[in-house]
Structures are given as C-alpha cells and as structure tokens.
Symmetry: C2
Subunit: 85 residues, 2 copies
C-alpha cells in the first residue's frame, strides 16, 4: 500500500544535481556550504537518502532556493522526463 519515496527522492536528486552544477559547485563545495559531508551529498544525489526537513532546508539555503522547490518536479524541456501532465 505505502510506496517508498523513490519518486520524491529522484526529484530531489535531480534538482540537487542540476542546481549544484548550474552554480558550478562540486559536491564538496556544496557540502562545505551546507555543513554536511561530501559523501552525504553524493548519497542524496544517488537517491539513497530519506532526508529530513532540516537537511532539505540546509540544502535549499545553500543553493538559494526554497525547500519546496527542491522537491518540486522541474520542467526540463530538454530530455528524459517529459511527463505530459
């Protein structure tokens, strides 16, 4: 009945990677900005983490977006996930 949050983890992972890269930040750079460990950033980007609100908030603050934006599906006209709503 309950679904694991794969979908939302994927959205977070994609947004995180995309925002981080668009700001020319390495995982290490972002980790320093957040006060998190580099390997943690990597694990979030691999959809391995069921992050908490406070972590989400730290990531969002470091990237200059809101926490809700970080878990919102972004419209990327480019490639693999055009979901015709």
């Amino acid at each position: 009945m309950r679904t694991a949050s794969e979908n939302i983890r994927t959205i977070l992972a994609e947004n995180l990677r995309s925002l981080r890269r668009s700001q020319n930040l390495s995982q290490d750079d972002l980790a320093v900005k957040c006060g998190l460990h580099r390997t943690y950033i990597g694990s979030v980007e691999r959809c391995e983490r069921n992050v908490t609100l406070s972590t989400l908030e730290m990531l969002a603050a470091a990237l200059g977006v809101s926490a809700s934006e970080l878990i919102s599906k972004r419209e990327t006209p480019g490639k693999e996930n055009q979901q015709s709503n």
Copy 2:
C-alpha cells in the same frame, strides 16, 4: 550556524492542520489514512517533528496534495483557506 528548521516545521504544521480540517478529518482519521500513529500527526502539528521525505509524502498523499505543497507557505488571506472545489 545551522538553523533548526523551525520555520519549515511551522509551515508544515499549519498546512497539515488546515488541510486536515478542511477535509473534516480528525488527527485519528488522518493517521489511519497515512498509516501513521495518531500521536505522530499531533506531534507534527505541534512542530515537534523533523519529518522525512517519505513521511511527508504519505501525509501529502493522504491529503491529496503534493509533498512540495505541504511545505510551501500558503497565501491565506482570511484564515482557513477557502478551497473551492
């Protein structure tokens, strides 16, 4: 340096309570829909929980909104948000 996520917890708590009430659900009803414990719902509404993505998703699904909506500040002009339809 790091702030605790009081703000986002507050947003979540307010949205949760507001959506729950607008659907005439008790904490108990919502708990059953989510597969969470009633006291847990209460503690989220009292801003006591640093919930995880998967919990956020369960709450959102039970209330018919997206996880990102649950942590977005809602514009409530009056108070308890009139939801048309």
